[in-house]
Symmetry: C3
Subunit: 370 residues, 3 copies
């Protein structure tokens, strides 16, 4: 929050990639580190490695228990297939950091306009095609044609107004999950308002009374609408920044599952963005679960310090390397980026992250450059 703090999501895409060393004429730092870490280009530098890929015949000579030579021959093919698929997924992920493999990018900041001292955002609600992983295009619903919708961000005490135009063929409402608003602005269909009909517009207006990592999403036919993409982050910075931890870099991680597959910020691995940071930085990661399942997010190499839940600072922060994020919860965490390298960062429900065809879904990497 001080002058040196710049959230990545406040920068344009190109600026972000440039900082991360992933575009431009100079040898890309992070890209180089990733390449070094990946044996695609050169072997991992480990003095203790005694690596040798045996000839197929060697494997046949020492078959696994009960495997006949014929079965082994087939098994080696299976091994090759698994390895090739796993390698392709990682290679694709690295390539995605330089040139996105999928069309469309969500979870980007949207500056408000100021009208009579009120911060105003204009959002549309559309049904669009959205590429979650390379080649997989889904019919989704989206705010401003992106999943997640734009990051709305303001400061405690601000008066804000958000105008919606519903271009869907069904009604919708918008709920400000975690934000204390007047009941009339709470966005629950038929309980606090009539839903916004197809073709209609609706405005919400309120003063931000509580800070934190919050969310906005549909609260009408929401099992379908939220799962299909009507969701976004709403970050309310505290007025008094003294009590909030200092950080050098920031990431907002919106988790989703079910109807559009397992996604972080609208994309499944290998189309997810790496978190590229510099060694020594204090990295703020905000977790927002918009899905229907718990996701225990596991960071390799370093722990996370959990210091806020649902926007409320914990009296007693705690460290972990696996943070279970239930649906609807938000956690603010700090990572001290002490360990250089490309560190896997994924849901530890393994069926959300890896199959015999390789890593997929709720997987990314924290890349700590030196």
């Amino acid at each position: 929050m001080d002058e040196t703090v710049i959230g990545d999501h406040r920068l344009g895409r190109r600026t972000f990639l440039k900082r991360a060393g992933l575009v431009g004429a100079a040898i890309p730092m992070a890209g180089g580190l990733i390449a070094a870490a990946c044996n695609d280009d050169k072997p991992a530098a480990s003095k203790s490695v005694d690596y040798r890929t045996p000839e197929p015949g060697a494997a046949t000579a020492k078959p696994a228990t009960g495997a006949s030579p014929a079965a082994s021959a087939t098994a080696v093919s299976v091994a090759d297939q698994i390895d090739n698929d796993h390698k392709k997924a990682i290679t694709d992920f690295l390539a995605n950091q330089k040139t996105p493999l999928t069309k469309g990018k969500g979870n980007l900041p949207l500056e408000p306009t100021i009208e009579n001292g009120v911060k105003v955002w204009n959002l549309t609600v559309d049904e669009i095609d959205w590429e979650t992983v390379p080649g997989k295009v889904e019919k989704v619903r989206a705010y401003n044609k992106a999943v997640p919708g734009p990051i709305l961000r303001a400061t405690e005490g601000d008066r804000v107004k958000v105008n919606f135009k519903n271009n869907l063929t069904e009604s919708t409402t918008v709920h400000w999950h975690g934000i204390t608003v007047p009941n009339s602005q709470d966005g629950v269909g038929f309980l606090t308002q009539d839903p916004i009909r197809p073709g209609a517009s609706w405005s919400y207006e309120f003063t931000l009374r509580n800070s934190g990592s919050h969310m906005y999403h549909s609260h009408h036919n929401s099992m379908d609408q939220v799962n299909r993409g009507l969701l976004g982050a709403f970050i309310v910075d505290p007025k008094d920044k003294a009590s909030y931890p200092k950080y050098d870099r920031e990431f907002i991680m919106v988790l989703n599952d079910s109807l559009l597959g397992f996604t972080i910020n609208g994309k499944g691995f290998p189309a997810t963005d790496a978190l590229v940071v510099k060694k020594g930085e204090r990295v703020l990661v905000r977790w927002l679960n918009e899905g229907m399942m718990n996701h225990p997010m596991h960071l390799h190499g370093m722990p996370m310090q959990v210091f806020a839940q649902d926007g409320y600072l914990l009296a007693s922060p705690y460290k972990c390397d696996t943070l279970d994020v239930p649906p609807g919860n938000r956690f603010d965490t700090i990572i001290e980026a002490t360990e250089p390298g490309a560190w896997a960062f994924h849901c530890h429900i393994l069926s959300h992250a890896e199959s015999p065809a390789g890593l997929f879904g709720l997987v990314t990497a924290l890349v700590v450059t030196e």
Copy 2:
């Protein structure tokens, strides 16, 4: 716990409704508030609303991406169907607060008799018909013919005895989940006792040594028996009330899922009870998960302060608006009822709470009257 504290569950149903302003000749406060909040009667008072339901033709004029006019015509019908169903669910819920839509009510207090200084309850175990939501009647198993069974409540240090008569066609046992009892009274079939055969009786007797929000339920063929209703709350008030937070009103929320659907206190939305409170009150909500799934319960408008887990006071309470309650856990929470209105209060696993046919299951509302 002081003189001003009166748990709703200690009152009869009529008294509860009267206090909540939901019966009687006077204009009902909460009912009025709910009605005001619900556009069924009059539109939500929002100065920022630019609401207009377009003509079907208008929607057709601006079809969603790729939708043909014919498809749009169908889509509008779908929109109407979704809206009508959603509205009916809310309307039914509001009606349910005045006149219950389902037969039977569980989770009601049962005063013990005193025999030689021992608090004694007599419970039957029956298979009965139970209406979980309007029109859906299930074969359940129940203590004293209600789901959940009666609330047993006593004070730390009390000697208690609970007599059971098993009218089922299968054996059962009763486990005092969370309560420290002698091993012989722990109720685990064939480990601490022979099960209570069909037609047989059994008594449990022990001294309450630890306070808290506890549970009693079957521990024999329990996956089936607990899921089908053999469960209830056992509240042990602390002997020394000084360390327990003060509160003005209290609710006990027993969650269940699976075999009888998603229920709060034996009923699914719209047959669930609203939590009706007055602005300014400190509201104690006790969460007891008797189901087989985690339920992240989300309160709109205000946070919950979590101060006890499984009856043990937390050294470091924390605030949240979404509280993940795993099976078997109990959490004691305080809500400061600062925000007037009808606030949705539901599981944020959206498939436990809403479908295209509207809200259902683990949904209720906190109604804060002024």
Copy 3:
């Protein structure tokens, strides 16, 4: 950690059983206690019990609501079947404490050799047959032919080296879950190393920088490989033991689910090991979830004090009787063994623990002997 502390897993199986009084000429204490607790041998001593198994005719005379006599006759048979199955499961569990009902035992300590001041372990990776519950043999993958693999244990600051020989017909890698290692040793296929091909060997070497209850497991095709058994505990004792709670006895509980069924330390109930302790002991239980589901582990009779998560001491420990352990997390807990008896200790997702055929899966017992 002081001189009086002896983890059971550091003892051989026979020593463990002998201490627990489960083998040898003397009347076995724990066995006797279990037998006493189990009505198989003699009825539970309860003054309040009014137990009488009615004649079949008696049950028929008081049928459950709506049950015809004929239906009741059938129902009694169902009741008998349920009871017999439940009794057999408990009886088998007790028998298993004396003579294992299944072949193979995992989660046993493996002493390292010392080479130039480095602690060295040699592990194989094999496909083997593994009996998870009596009579159910699965094709699993295993480190050193046991599930879980051997317990690796060293002290913060130690230099360690682990050599693997891959005898599988597919590639693998090993990830040191929770341990801060150089990126090159992190074991993520194609991100930090090429996978270890069938027939190949690989060595990992690093200095232990953070203490705690950690894990090692495959990180290549891991949804399949970890689920099928490529997992083990890695305990790093703190260099400075002053800040770590004192304990008298220790258990390491590795949870798994999915492909091999619900298992604790590679076995499902009734083949699970009881936790046999003496009254008054402080018992350390380390929870390690290697599965794909949350497991809320419930202890009857006494609470657990949770004091560390993922190896990091909590600033504010908390008590509970039900501890939800998400996939990938580890919790260190202390049980004050104050209550004598045989206490059920199980996952409270009841479908992971009991069916009409009796207790199964994630179930064991804490046996507190006097």
